[in-house]
Subunit: 354 residues, 2 copies
Amino acid sequence: MAQTRTNMREVADLAGVAMSSVSRVLSGHPDVSPAMRARVMAAVDALGYQPDLLAQSLRRKETRSVGFVVGDISNPLQSQIALGAETTLRDAGYSMLLTNSENDPALDTRHIRLFQQRRVDGLLLSLAAEDDPQTLALLAATTTPIVLMDRELHNGAARRANAILSDHRSGMRDAVGHLLDLGHRRIGLILGQPMRFSRERLEGLKSAYEERSLAPTYAVVEGQLEPRHGRAATQTLLDAAEPATALVAGGNQLLNGALAELQQRGLRVGADISLVSCDEISVTELYQPPIAVVRRDTRELGRRAAELLLSQFAAQEEDPETGLRTSPDVEPSVVLLPTEFVARPSCAPPPGSA
Amino acid sequence: MAQTRTNMREVADLAGVAMSSVSRVLSGHPDVSPAMRARVMAAVDALGYQPDLLAQSLRRKETRSVGFVVGDISNPLQSQIALGAETTLRDAGYSMLLTNSENDPALDTRHIRLFQQRRVDGLLLSLAAEDDPQTLALLAATTTPIVLMDRELHNGAARRANAILSDHRSGMRDAVGHLLDLGHRRIGLILGQPMRFSRERLEGLKSAYEERSLAPTYAVVEGQLEPRHGRAATQTLLDAAEPATALVAGGNQLLNGALAELQQRGLRVGADISLVSCDEISVTELYQPPIAVVRRDTRELGRRAAELLLSQFAAQEEDPETGLRTSPDVEPSVVLLPTEFVARPSCAPPPGSA
DNA sequence: CAGCTTGCAACAATCGTTTCCAGTAACCTT
DNA sequence: AAGGTTACTGGAAACGATTGTTGCAAGCTG
């Protein structure tokens, strides 16, 4: 009655062979006679035996699992990344442990440590901050392969890390260029936390002005990637002495807040005010009028991040020296994925421009 | 150079005590002298020792991990559930393994089996199908605690399972009632796969007609929870001999398709046609006009599912008999969470109703 | 002071695998 | 026919923890 999972010893007993032979059969060792293989497989089938991955991991020193640390999985952006990553990892035989850092760097480090205790083979990280001392110290001290997702460790970090980055800058340059060419001069940029994506977007905006030799008559409001900030920033930008005629929201959460405020004021998007957002979500396509976006393939980002991590594992396999795997001390790989500006009717010439 | 994680033996050696003593200190065993505790803790701190959860799990026969099987994490609905579940599990000291079934029942069973090999303590399941024979057989054969999320196993399933369900029916009854009271009679309902949420929504619609003693002049189109189906179904319903004057989309993916088709035809929502969707997403609130929805708290759903699973674990703890935990054979718990209809301007009297 | 309990720490078995090592038998080679 | 490979197989030691049992010394009681 008190049944327990059948283990290898039972299989060995039933087949009348040693456990080591069972192990060899199951792991495809070459030196196994056909007769032995048949007997073992028969016993395996009879008992419905499935190896215990826990014990296997302990012995083999690899868990075939990866830790995925993300700010908030309910954000469409991040869940698409997660989907891409999980699919790729799964195809390669790895399982994914997921945790939400709630945008708290302290939780980041805690979860990374926990995953290490669980002996994950690698980590996929969307850190809550790029310059948190605790996190940086932890990452510097660890030898676990990691891949950052759209994050760049603060200059001077002891460890330069592998990363998949989005080229926010070029998409933003095109977006702002489009607005400038429509005649806008006072463009308001709403940004999130001071991380790579914010810096790059700002740089993109500046480039667009500079390319056209225009005075920097833009305005920037930084804050958190939350609807509330999107809304507050919109108020700020519209209530300025010289109100913005076009808004650029640096993220879907910010867009939500901005739209809410615009609706509240009865401003018509694409007529009274122009609007661009970053990252495609259902609203941007379905809104009336459709909203221009700087687009990128987030699922691909997750896929590529997973692939980069997997390639690290493969690189390690090569080391037959001490038995335990040390990663070759090569220059970390950084992949840059494109972004693309999609013009839509939410962008129009500023009001009163003939 | 070839450093390995420090293990308990090193701690014991440094402290000059037996490994068993280190274990007892760390796991808070009562029979430990203050002196011993101090020595061990000093060694632990000196070495920065952290126990290996893999070995711990193997020995303790519990992994403190839970498998989360979902169709597609990039769907906002499911990622919100995941967020709620992960947060709750984490607070209780459990890690979450995530996998996407891609709405394929065969993958469902494969992943469940894999998770069992990884010895997860429990499973949170949003199955791809409620009547897949393989899945049902597997679940019947297993003793792992499980909680279904908005799923109901097909009648006759060997195992009645714990579940957190949403009361789609009552929200839908109110929604359709609202449309009927506005004067609509030909209401088109767009449904997804034949699962609980579809059945309940249909029942809700019927109730609304019956309550008012109206002839069943509605139309229903079943299919997959995908934008394509939403669009095709919309075409069908609008091109019928007696076209629908109001549409109800049974899911956010269906809404996307429906909206696309309506826009294509130049129909004005809330004027030429009325529209209701299920589950709040950013589009429903921000669309112009805002779209009425049958709302529910999906994050809460995830939370409650996790809590129900945790309570199963607690129930098992009680069994000190054989050492291995068998769940008491009680009636499975089923929790019903409310839904709420939110009327919005996307619903208006049918055109030409004076 | 004998005898018994009690508190604490060490020994050793165990969880379920993998893998090194040794040993056996058959097969060549000359 | 003797010696050397080669192809398998079994035994046992890990992997890194937990825990039941045992043993030892000190603290009681009468």
